[in-house]
């Protein structure tokens, strides 16, 4: 069993399906969901464990049952026993269904645990008993998400690193949705001994994904947007992945653009993630890419990719150029209640892929 070591980054995923990535060390205070707590408690404990923040803001371990009692609530209705006799025919919104006042609830928060507050709120709801089982469950879900704060501790993966970054600010990643990142990786087909020239303007997420796949057996010459001032330490995702020395060594940070041309071997991949002046990069560095090399570009703008496609075609070095985007939809799968999720992210960016031929 793997143990959480000092100074490792871990991913906390809570009962709202939100996540936060933190570095664990002794007596380290973390602020999350209006709580401030000492995350050092989980040090030297196992991954995939469950924790709760109690009323005194202390982190205590709970069982997985206790956690899923407050998360994944959709699944807690026993479909077989549902009476459909109740309807919302007699429910009216007079905004007086909750007997507790706001002050009383604030007071409760200081005295009681999250679950107890939820019970209290339900008891004081005039309409709760009249609700159908489905809307009871929905109500309970909302209240538990609001008053109970529990989380599980996961290892950081490129999936949850991307998720936290994307939720925080999608524009920093140029709106590169998770499936676009997945496509980017698959289209670039990284193998061991790849010698990659990479331009990253997506806050280091793509570099992390590429470095993880390369596993230290090759090199990634990375140019960040503000290359002269860039430092690997400034890119959180690269740190959050807990890379070993070997992998970190494979990421060669390029501060001076002239260094790109100094590489003795030709590059096997030209990967561009995020906004740059693509035509300028292609014009200057296409000759440094080996014949048979792979070119993948991600952009928020379709027109920019077509501009590059035209440039590549007229260079006569590429024949088949794919420009694509992707569609991703999540589904709720429950007995008698299966349907696509209501919330959807409708835009994930565009990708271009081609091979350099001669």
């Amino acid at each position: 069993m793997e143990i959480i070591e000092e100074d490792t980054w871990v991913c906390l995923e809570d009962n709202r399906n939100e996540s936060k990535i933190v570095k664990v060390s002794e007596k380290k205070m973390v602020g999350w969901r209006k709580h401030k707590f000492d995350i050092g408690v989980i040090l030297h404990k196992q991954y995939n464990t469950f924790w709760k923040i109690d009323k005194s803001n202390t982190v205590v371990e709970i069982t997985s049952d206790q956690f899923y009692d407050n998360a994944d609530l959709d699944n807690q209705i026993d479909d077989a026993n549902i009476e459909i006799t109740k309807t919302n025919k007699d429910l009216f919104d007079f905004n007086d269904s909750q007997k507790l006042t706001q002050e009383e609830i604030i007071q409760l928060k200081q005295q009681k645990e999250g679950e107890e507050i939820v019970d209290e709120v339900i008891q004081n709801s005039k309409t709760f008993e009249q609700k159908t089982e489905f809307s009871k469950a929905k109500y309970l879900k909302r209240k538990k998400e609001k008053y109970v704060c529990c989380f599980m501790v996961l290892k950081t993966t490129i999936d949850n690193v991307h998720k936290t970054q994307f939720l925080e600010s999608p524009q920093k990643l140029n709106f590169m949705r998770i499936d676009s990142l997945a496509f980017f990786m698959q289209l670039s087909s990284i193998t061991q001994n790849s010698n990659i020239l990479m331009f990253d303007n997506a806050n280091g997420v793509v570099v992390s994904a590429v470095a993880e796949r390369l596993d230290g057996e090759g090199s990634i010459s990375t140019v960040f947007w503000n290359h002269s001032k860039s430092n690997l330490r400034d890119y959180l995702p690269i740190q959050q992945m807990n890379f070993n020395e070997e992998i970190l060594k494979s990421i060669k940070l390029i501060k001076n653009l002239e260094d790109i041309e100094k590489n003795q071997n030709k590059y096997t991949h030209l990967l561009i993630a995020g906004e740059f002046k693509f035509t300028e990069i292609i014009e200057k560095y296409l000759n440094l890419i080996a014949v048979g090399g792979i070119i993948v570009i991600f952009s928020t703008y379709l027109e920019k990719l077509h501009e590059v496609a035209e440039q590549l075609l007229s260079s006569g070095l590429c024949s088949k150029i794919d420009v694509l985007d992707s569609f991703l939809r999540y589904h709720q799968v429950l007995e008698n209640r299966t349907h696509p999720k209501v919330e959807m992210n409708a835009f994930g960016g565009y990708l271009l892929q081609t091979y350099k031929l001669k």
């Binding site: 496509f183 698959q186 087909s189 193998t191 027109e303 077509h306 088949k320 794919d322 694509l324 991703l328």
Partner: protein, 287 residues
């Protein structure tokens, strides 16, 4: 440099067409004429002309994406969009051990093997003997040494060696694999076996085309205590460039006189033929 015995992917008319094993003394024939295999001994991606000096073809090093586009369809295969999501959401890393069932045409197998790299292992199970042999041949041909293909019905026999004498090679051990992928008509029948193999914290993915299958799978996953269920579908959409000469409403069409403004403009457009549905991917984690 390409050498005799290498299996490469042949690009014809700019598109990947087929696998080709470069063999001494052989020729390849297409509509442009004949190509001697000795002319193939160049760098991957270099232009090769036929004896008539026409029809450039290219030989490319096989990579997971190209393999998916080239592999002969013995069965319905998994495509790039689903493969990408499977690899990312299963959190595959070099050095990990992964189980797949069934092998099918081997399109996903090659991508899984590439994701776990030469330090990792792929155990792939197929219940159709011909396809299992085809899988073995494919791995041998493409020199994917980290993958082993077994001929077996996993519903009844699971993934452990047991008293199997039919299959050669290293079998996976209990509680030792990081990820499992099931592309079976009834994935819920293989979940018991999967639970035995998966490490704590490991992930599973089930691919099913029908929502009824997904519901049954999700129910069984929950009953068995798998957590963090997530069902999704992912499709790709292509775009093309079209160069259009815009006609002005005020032009004299009869005389075909164009004004200065009617220059050629490049537009991007979608392509109306696409896959509307391949299958649902259901992910879960064993905690």
């Amino acid at each position: 440099m390409i050498q005799y015995g290498d299996t490469m992917i042949l690009f014809e008319d700019g598109k990947p067409k087929q696998f080709i094993t470069v063999t001494q003394g052989q020729t390849y024939q297409n509509k442009y004429g004949a190509y001697h295999h000795y002319t193939f001994l160049v760098k991957p991606g270099e232009e090769i002309l036929s004896k008539n000096g026409t029809g450039p073809i290219y030989l490319m090093t096989p990579n997971p994406h190209l393999i998916t586009e080239t592999v002969p369809h013995k069965t319905q295969i998994l495509f790039m969009a689903d493969i990408s999501m499977i690899i990312l959401k299963l959190c595959l890393k070099p050095g990990q051990r992964v189980i797949e069932s069934g092998t099918g045409s081997g399109s996903l197998s090659c991508s899984l093997a590439a994701a776990v790299g030469h330090k990792g292992r792929l155990f792939t199970f197929e219940f159709n003997k011909e396809r299992a042999n085809n899988g073995k041949e494919l791995f041998a041909k493409l020199k994917i040494n980290q993958a082993t293909c077994f001929w077996r019905d996993v519903y009844t026999n699971g993934f452990l060696k047991g008293d199997d004498v039919e299959n050669q090679g290293e079998f996976p051990q209990e509680n030792s694999v990081d990820a499992i992928f099931l592309d079976l008509p009834q994935p819920w029948l293989a979940l018991d076996h999967s639970k035995k193999m998966i490490k704590k914290g490991g992930r599973i993915c089930c691919f099913s085309p029908c929502i009824e299958q997904v519901q049954k799978t999700a129910l069984e996953l929950r009953q068995q205590g798998w957590k963090n269920l997530e069902t999704l579908e992912c499709l790709k959409r292509h775009f093309e460039r079209r160069v259009k000469q815009e006609q002005s409403l005020f032009d004299d069409v009869q005389k075909k006189v164009c004004t200065d403004q009617n220059k050629r403009v490049t537009y991007s457009s979608g392509i109306n033929q696409a896959y509307g549905h391949t299958g649902y991917l259901t992910f879960a984690q064993y905690i």
